[in-house]
């Protein structure tokens, strides 16, 4: 029996863990001391709770009064899932860096650190959700996410396009096989 919500709490925990793993990977790559970085579990939980609402509203809009178990319901796209997640994970105040602890590091690292959360969110949705290699258009999207604005609807659509066109990552189970072949369509 399917859960009535698309994002139950145990699944939110899995997503949270994958996101924090991405933060860790980025921090490691940037050679920032782990001690200097803090993750707010409260903000992360709030962001994922909001994702749950977003996705369930999407589900309702798609399925209407038929309900998600009706055979006529086609589901929500992978780009919309990724868009919902990256929007919330880049808006809530989840990742905090102790400026004092990194004051001796070069200016370039300080510039990167100010976008740490958005970069990690990006990496998270590319690797864990879309299973794509970083597309060349990523930089522009990082700028939009961190310094300007893009609404969830446009992010979802943009990431649907990325999913269709970008080089696919190799995964444990090929995304060409069911059930993944339903989610990952090619242009």
């Amino acid at each position: 029996m399917s859960d009535p919500t698309l994002l139950p709490v145990d699944l939110q925990d899995k997503l949270a863990e994958s996101f924090v793993e991405c933060v860790l990977e980025v921090v490691k790559a940037w050679q920032i001391p782990y001690d200097a970085v803090h993750v707010s579990s409260r903000e992360l939980a709030l962001a994922l709770r909001e994702c749950q609402k977003d996705l369930d509203i999407l589900l309702y809009r798609r399925a209407g009064t038929l309900g998600p178990t009706h055979e006529g319901f086609d589901g929500v796209s992978i780009g919309k899932l990724a868009g919902t997640l990256i929007f919330r994970l880049s808006r809530y105040r989840i990742v905090h860096v102790d400026e004092k602890a990194i004051e001796s590091l070069p200016l370039e690292i300080h510039k990167r650190v100010s976008k740490l959360q958005e970069v990690a969110a990006f990496r998270f949705i590319c690797e864990d959700i879309l299973k794509i290699k970083p597309p060349r258009t990523h930089p522009e999207l990082l700028y939009l996410l961190s310094r300007r604005h893009m609404n969830q609807e446009m992010l979802g659509l943009t990431l649907d396009v990325f999913s269709e066109h970008c080089s696919r990552l190799k995964t444990q189970t090929s995304v060409d096989k069911p059930p993944f072949s339903t989610f990952y369509k090619r242009a």
């Binding site: 399917s2 859960d3 919500t5 698309l6 994002l7 139950p8 699944l11 899995k14 980025v26 790559a29 940037w30 809009r61 798609r62 399925a63 209407g64 009064t65 038929l66 998600p68 009706h70 006529g72 319901f73 086609d74 589901g75 929500v76 796209s77 992978i78 780009g79 899932l81 370039e108 510039k111 990167r112 100010s114 976008k115 970069v119 990006f122 990496r123 590319c126 690797e127 864990d128 959700i129 299973k131 290699k133 970083p134 990523h138 930089p139 990082l142 700028y143 659509l157 649907d160 990552l169 190799k170 995964t171 444990q172 189970t173 995304v175 059930p179 993944f180 989610f183 990952y184 369509k185």
Partner: protein, 110 residues
């Protein structure tokens, strides 16, 4: 395209700013195709004079329209349940990707 009931009317030609008699036939106005909302089945149209005479008409017409609504939205699709999302998140990538270009980009703007 619905053929207007009338064959002509007098109005302002916005191209020449002059009053002229237009010919309206077979869904065109002086030969230019018209895209009236009358493309909708007439059953959804509420004529104001009919409405003024019968206030209950609007509610009936709204219900007529509701009967034609789709029950679902057909757009990009695929994921139907939390089990699907769990399968996606559990299907981990098995290759390493070079994220350096994105990291470099992050230091190229303030």
């Amino acid at each position: 395209m619905v053929v207007p009931r009338y064959r002509g009317y007098t109005g302002l030609d916005i191209r020449t700013q002059s009053v002229k008699k237009f010919s309206v036939r077979a869904g065109t106005l002086d030969g230019v195709p018209l895209f009236f909302t009358t493309d909708l089945p007439r059953t959804f149209l509420v004529n104001l004079s009919e409405y003024a005479a019968n206030r209950g008409l609007l509610s009936k017409k709204l219900n007529d329209a509701r009967k034609t609504f789709q029950k679902d939205v057909r757009v990009n699709s695929g994921i139907k349940s939390s089990e699907h999302i769990a399968a996606i998140i559990n299907n981990k990538p098995t290759e390493q990707v070079d994220w350096t270009p994105l990291y470099k980009h992050a230091e190229q703007f303030d």
